[in-house]
Amino acid sequence: MTVFGIDLGRSAARLAWPAGGPGAATGTAGSVAVPAAVRFAGPDETLVGEDALRPPAGPASPAGPAGAADAAQVFVPSVRDLLVRSAEAADADVRAFERTYSPESVAALVLAELATRARAATAGQVRDVVLATPTGFGVGPGAAQRRAAEEAGLAVKGTVLAPVAVCLHYGAVGEGVNQNLVVCDVGAGGREISALLVREYLVDLVPVPHLAEDLVAAVRAAGAAIGGPDLDDLDAVLLAGDGATEDVAVRLEEALGVPVRRAEPETAVANGAARSASFGFLRVNTSGAPTSSPRPDTYQSPVADVDDPEPATSRRPPASFEQRIGRTSPPAPPPYEEPPASSSSSPPPRAETVLPPRTEHVPPRATSSAPADTGPARPQPVAALHAVRREDHALLTWIWPPDCVNSVVRWRIGTSDDGRSGETVCSRRVYEHEGGFLLRVGLTESLFTVEALVPGAHPDPGPPSSVALAALPPTVRYALTVTRGRRRTGRVTLTADTDCSFPTIDVVLSEGRYLPRGAHEGEVVHRIAGARLAQRTPLTVEFPVPRFRGPAWLVCFPADPADSLVELLPESLHRLKVG
């Protein structure tokens, strides 16, 4: 299901979808927009978008506290401002024609119209969305925006800060990227300027000084916060919003001497929000205290002097999965040992660890008796993080800090190209009742991070604790049956999860009560030559089975155990008993 991005701007709301989404036949990216205005024109007439902006036929009054306008038309010029006001004022409801509308329900009208237009444009279903929220939007308006989206029939899959979404739009976050950026969102209703330190998958939002009236001066001030007074360390300015015209880009570039990126700025926020759904690990620090180390000199790009460097340009060769998780490829496990899990409870080296996103987490509604006056719960690394592989499941365990009732668990399963990622809040109660955190991970490599949400913890605790599980080797499973009768025939069926080559296999018959430990405890009754095995395409081999009396086992062993790159496992242990 495609996830759409929504930017509920001050003057207009926009919904975007990525390439390959429901853009139907073309499969191209696209977007739709609607002015973020609502007019209650009559007892049964509510106008949304362009219709709401048209001059009214009768008397109109701006939206105000409940009861302000019962008889006249009520005009809401910006539903976003209404949502912001709902967090500040207790009486932000809109009253029109003797009806009262909550700010969320008014905003939902705009979002519903947006979804309708998107459905018409894509001829597809529009349900899952990621909402972009401006910096400083606050928890209250953010929650109201989410409720509005849900009231509009949308399923909110997540939220992302608008400047971070802009970075994602420009591909300015990712492996090997180390950039100091200013994001300038210029809209009809105002401007928002943010300074960001991007260190691969970690984004620090740096507080900017009071913004000047002049756009150039404001951007310069923001750039100075991260790039020095002469903006020497500022890599680029990213433009977003309807007001980010070509003229603005030229003016900024000439005045600042810094590359200014402008590519479809009007859809930058919504498009970035849509991209964030499939982006995977991303950690955003909004505490104001930088968590990232200074840009590593060793990774300075040889193309740093290029006039207009691409923000997404990788400044070092892509690292392997093992390098990124801070270790080398594990040696092949010995036959009776489980593949080791690498664990680090202390902050791992910055340049080697993929860090997940961190957002300000509001713990779920009171699940414990934790004191309320200790401040908001902040993420903090956990001690003794450990992962145990149970074939296609992983069990995570860690030490819970005192007073902590929730932890954030994030994971990436598989490689970055075809992997999937996710996060959840694990409550202490569930952890203790279920004996850890269990997740189905398949047989591929996996990376996990865990942060405890601790009330009153230090705002800058460092990176989350991380642990990795190595991938399991390709597996060939076999099932053995023996037909009864005068001439016994054995049948081995081999199947594999992935395309692979299996080695020469000895089928061993062992008489006795106990499962043979190796081929030396029985008689080789058949040898299957090594061959290629296609994924989920069974290979069946038949062979005569000599006579035996009493309990007996038929087991497959690699003819040369040292020559095996695949694991040879029985489908069922007890079914190997044939007598």
Partner: protein, 407 residues
Amino acid sequence: MPLLRKLTRTPLAPKPLTCPYCYERFPIRDILFRCNTRMSRTGRRCVAKTDGILEERTGNRRELGPVFSADGRKTTAVCPDCASETRYRVCPVCHSQLPTQFGLVDNLLIAMVGSKDSGKTVYMTVLLHEVMNRIGARLDASLLAADEHTLSRFRLNYEESLYAERRLPTTTTSAGTRDGRVDPLVFRFSVRRNGPIRQAPVHTLLSFFDAAGEDLVSQESVDLNTRYLANADGVLLLLDPLQMPGARQSAAPDTRLPGVGARYDTSVGVLTRITDMLLSQPGLLNRGLIDVPVAVVFPKLDAFRHRLRRGSPLTVEPPAGPRFDVADSLDVHTEMMGLLRDWDGVQIDQVMANNYRRYRYFGVSALGANPTSDAEVAQTGIQPYRVADPFVWLLSELGAVGREGRG
């Protein structure tokens, strides 16, 4: 065969009941009643006083109403002294108050035995906690304490201690030091079963008797528990691999090893004495083999996790279906047979094969990790692994839960 004995063997003859507290057998009509000492309609009231039999059998010195006999097949009776109607039914032998529905629903007695320091109490606590929570959700079943004493005792002495205070329990008191008394925990296990027309809950009373390891170090001490073992419907036999010579050497480094010496015993020794005792009970034999289902549980599996090869059923997440998974259980049984051969030779397996008709091996880990040297649970908490498998197998053998597959 005498006619009376023949009659008692017919299916229509009422099955004798076994008290879940003292494990004595009696017919249902022998159940006694205890006056509730409330004012009756006649204005009379019985005086509560200490029950001598109850005190002698269980050590309970509480002042209670007098015991009187009435038709034990009924659930209520009228006190002959005060005319008050009472619902308190008591065991005719030990005078313990019987659980609600006793005699009306299945009554299964499960004895747990094992060598000293094998972790029986920890295992039982985690098992019951799991059945009350995770496994209960899996089986769509509930487990409730059947009496106030069990409720408070399990919560305070077992669950709170292990889960909240993270302390391992101290050594269980020997029956020998308590005048031969034991103190079972009695629960009501309810599970939804598919009937011919609709799903209906099926209730079973479960009595858990945790024998002290010290009670199994000599034949004389085993005899103290004869009544409990002989009348049990199923036995959980814990054999500690860390007390087996081959396994001790291959345990993970820093594993807390149980003691050795005269106060301790080998697993074979414990199994031999229990087998001897059960063989001496003629009613338990079927074609020369002991018919009571015995789940042979090898705890502390976490100490050997590093030794298990890939593909072992003890390295995978156990099935989470609502029924007992026979194929998975047989895989574990096969795997444990192999491990047992490496740990302690084939003696245990041969004893089981030649003396028991229904038995199965299980590998479990109650804590999931090595406890600390201060006898505390690891700081990462309790991660039980397969602890309920033996219990669910016993219940499936006794018909209390369904099973998936044959075997």
